[in-house]
């Protein structure tokens, strides 16, 4: 494999790769603002400049410069090597590149950093990016110098409304054009552009347009500074209080890899961030998915409930469920909204009771596109079908109820992809996360922990099994479905194939091949 030398390290590369790409693969981060592995090269921030040594026997390309001489008190003529942006520089075999070990490079980066901060407002205390801001990190790493400019900074528009989701602050912007390139290249909706040059440069909307496509929150995500902020996250949390777990988006069947960012103090999820996975979502997530974390908090079933009562205790609810289920062979309704673990637990209980009628449902289909969004809005349809290949759909369940062949229905999930009234004629024991057609039809309703509150595996539309980690504690009195099932099983004197919730995953088909949080 061809290789080049970066500082003291030998780095291998595939022909055609740039220096920064090869270095990133080898785990060496060359500082950069405008370069993004998923976008085209702009080479406008000049932070990734490196010094390339000339081939043996050839003179180095030098520039004539004036350097201020402290002792003389005047400028003197000097030479310095011509530096190159490593994001644009194709790696060549045997090349010698100097990054942190080169004095001109260090000087150049400090100068770039000084220029970028020249007109930057004193916003860290009120900026949502503070704590994960490249300007902060790189200032400490590459500059560390106080301000020399005594003049008033150039003021530009602040809090510009870019659309339903994004606010723009031109003063904080370093005009790296990542957001512009993202809209152009990934979404193919060139709604953003750059105007003016130098310290007057700013990002603008196309005339008459708003930033309103389906991936607007990604512009905030690619922004290396606090110029673009999400209305949803603005002033909600400070990032250094948040902790992250690796998760999988449950908004549709694509199964984008994400980080769930939550505050451990109030056990509340504040946002999702995309997690890079070349095979599933590359670097991106859609707005729908990014905002899907809200469902962890919204419209939740938090207490057990018997039909006609506002709420009841867990013991009474279990009693009522046991009474309904004892001695009957219940039909079971699985849910493509839920993890395979939840589905398997419910299915096991129904089978242990002798039930043979298996149906499944989920959220009704929605919009899709050819970027990430899948029309199937359920994260685990393939997973449910792997557990119960012959499961009937919701229409078949309606027909069975009509025909009077369902005595009791054990249902998992909240939403149905069909007529909500179909559940009316039969007693339902339901395990639901959210209020919806199933929880409303329930005779006995047991609150279930959401996807962020229990570990779970999901099989996406491309039949990829992925694991999502638990972030926060279950809200209210909700519990993972397997806990309810274990309790019901014990009361009904049934022997299930698992005796604690952690054992459920081991019973899944193909589960052993997926590690926790692994970027599969």
């Amino acid at each position: 494999m061809p290789s080049f030398k970066l500082d003291d390290q030998q780095i291998e590369f595939q022909p055609g790769e740039t220096v920064i790409q090869a270095a990133r693969k080898a785990g060496v981060d060359i500082p950069h603002y405008c370069w993004h592995p998923g976008l085209s090269v702009a080479a406008n921030c000049r932070m990734c400049l490196v010094e390339v040594l000339p081939p043996p026997g050839r003179p180095a390309l030098m520039l004539d410069v004036l350097r201020f001489d402290e002792a003389k008190g005047d400028y003197i003529k000097a030479k310095k090597p011509k530096l190159q942006p490593s994001c644009q520089l194709q790696a060549g075999d045997g090349m010698e590149v100097k990054s942190q070990t080169s004095e001109p490079v260090r000087e150049a980066r400090a100068a770039v950093q000084e220029f970028l901060l020249l007109n930057h407002p004193v916003d860290c205390p009120i900026c949502d990016q503070a704590g994960e801001c490249r300007l902060q990190d790189y200032w400490l790493e590459h500059s560390g110098k106080s301000k020399r400019m005594k003049d008033e900074i150039v003021h530009k528009p602040k809090a510009v409304d870019f659309g339903p989701t994004i606010v723009y602050d031109a003063e904080r912007c370093i005009v790296c054009t990542r957001c512009v390139r993202f809209c152009d290249e990934v979404v193919k909706d060139p709604v953003l552009d750059k105007r003016e040059r130098g310290n007057l440069g700013e990002i603008v909307l196309a005339p008459g347009r708003q930033l309103d496509h389906a991936y607007t929150l990604m512009t905030e995500h690619v922004c290396p500074v606090g110029a673009l902020t999400a209305k949803d996250f603005r002033f909600k949390a400070r990032v250094w209080f948040l902790r992250s777990v690796s998760s999988v988006c449950v908004g549709c069947a694509t199964g984008c890899n994400s980080y769930t960012d939550f505050d451990p103090r109030d056990q509340t999820v504040y946002r999702y961030r995309p997690r890079d996975n070349a095979e599933v979502n590359q670097f991106w997530m859609c707005d729908e998915g990014m905002l899907d974390y809200r469902r962890i908090q919204e419209a939740r079933v938090l207490r057990p409930r018997l039909a006609g009562q506002p709420s009841t205790g867990a013991k009474e609810a279990i009693d009522a469920a046991v009474e309904l289920l004892r001695g009957v062979r219940p039909a079971v309704l699985l849910s493509a909204e839920h993890s395979s673990e939840d589905n398997l637990a419910v299915l096991e209980l129904a089978r242990a009771l002798g039930g043979t009628q298996v149906f499944f449902t989920g959220r009704p289909p929605g919009k899709g596109d050819d970027i990430l969004r899948h029309p199937d809005k359920n994260p685990n349809r393939a997973g449910v079908l792997a557990l119960a290949p012959n499961a009937g759909d919701y229409q078949a369940l309606g027909a069975a109820i009509q025909a009077g062949s369902v005595s009791v229905l054990l249902a998992l999930g909240s939403q149905v992809d069909g007529d909500a009234g179909a559940l009316g004629g039969v007693p339902v024991v339901s395990l639901s996360v959210h209020e919806g057609p199933i929880s409303r039809a329930a005779r006995v309703l047991l609150p279930v922990a959401s996807w962020a509150e229990a570990q779970g595996s999901y099989v996406n539309a491309k039949l990829k099994l992925q694991l999502s980690e638990r972030a926060v504690a279950p809200r209210g009195e909700s519990r993972p479905a397997s806990r309810w099932i274990l309790e019901l099983g014990a009361r009904l004197n049934l022997s299930l194939s698992f005796s604690k919730p952690s054992e459920v995953r081991g019973r899944l088909p193909g589960a052993s091949s997926v590690g926790a949080g692994a970027p599969v």
Binding site: A130, G131, L135, L140, W240
Partner: protein
Amino acid sequence: MEALDIDLEESEIELPTEPMLLNVGPSHPAMHGTVRCVMELSGEAIARVDVQVGYLHRGFEKMCERGTWSQVFPYVDRCNYVSPMLNNVGFAMACEKMLGIEVPDRCQWYRMALGELARISDHLTCDGAMAMELGAFTPFLWMVKARDMIWDVMEEETGARLTHSFGRVGGMAKPPTDGFKEHARAVVAQVLKIVEESEGLLLGNRIFLDRLEGIGIISAEDAISLGWTGPCLRAAGVPYDVRKSNPYMKYAEVDFEVPVGQTSDCLDRFLIRLAEMRQSARIVYQCLDRLSDSGPVNVDDPRVVLPEKSGVYTTIEDTIRHFKIVMEGLKIPAGEVYSYTEGGNGELGFYLVSDGSGTPYRVRIRPPCFQVTAGLEKIITGQMMADVVPCFGSLNMIGGECDR
């Protein structure tokens, strides 16, 4: 009512001869904090004794390991709370050793001057309390008055009399005040005078001498094997003083002597502290002479030292610098260090482990008092019950340091 023993023969009345167990502490005025001594008495002599520390437990090392490196300073203040400045500087020096930075000369002289003042206040407290516990109340009041004068200087410099939290990694919280030198010189002169007067009251007193002479003797070998350091070890004739044997800061450049004792009894330990106060005063004068009136106190390193507040409020660069140090904590390279200085009671060691983040991975303290207190059992076994008080007092056990 008739007396119950009315029918007893004279010969049947006898005193019990089995040893008596006596519990002193953990809450007892003579126990200087929360130490418990369970003594087995044979008459008034102590046949066996079990000294138990651990009644003061704040989980202090664990507390240090959950904030930033700078947030450790208030905790080390509360280790030896009679000379917190020495702890502050000791911890700062341990961090600086890991960072590979050295503070400017002005800061070193300032740290030494404040540190030696703290040492004087530490010794004043110990000797004063020792006298008081033996019934001599006046010298105690005098010495505490002298200590208050020192604390006036501390208050002027740091804003706090007792727990200053004044040390910083890479320097001090503030430069010396304009009047520091003058104030400190005046105070040291007065303190020395008070020390001399108190000494005159005590060392001419037969009762005081009888209570201390020949009491609580320990051999140099035993003291070393117990891990004793500081005045108690020097009283046993071992001239070990970190300031001399491994000079740090500018101690190699100042003139002072390390007084040692001969008999290693309580009186020796009392006298050593008196002598050390005079040596400390010598050092303070030399530090004040060499402390420059201008120049930087803190190192010029944006990774470590906070910027000026005026800059933080007006420029983004200083805001970022402030943000990084306050929110993430200053980063210390991964590794471990043992750094030791001469505290009030002996070698104060910090063993620190860093994982490269802004939070200490491990903070382990070697407080001099812990080892010294471990020797209490040895020096009071076989002594009279009444000797526990001077023996314990002469060790100068500080509860905060024995937090384990």
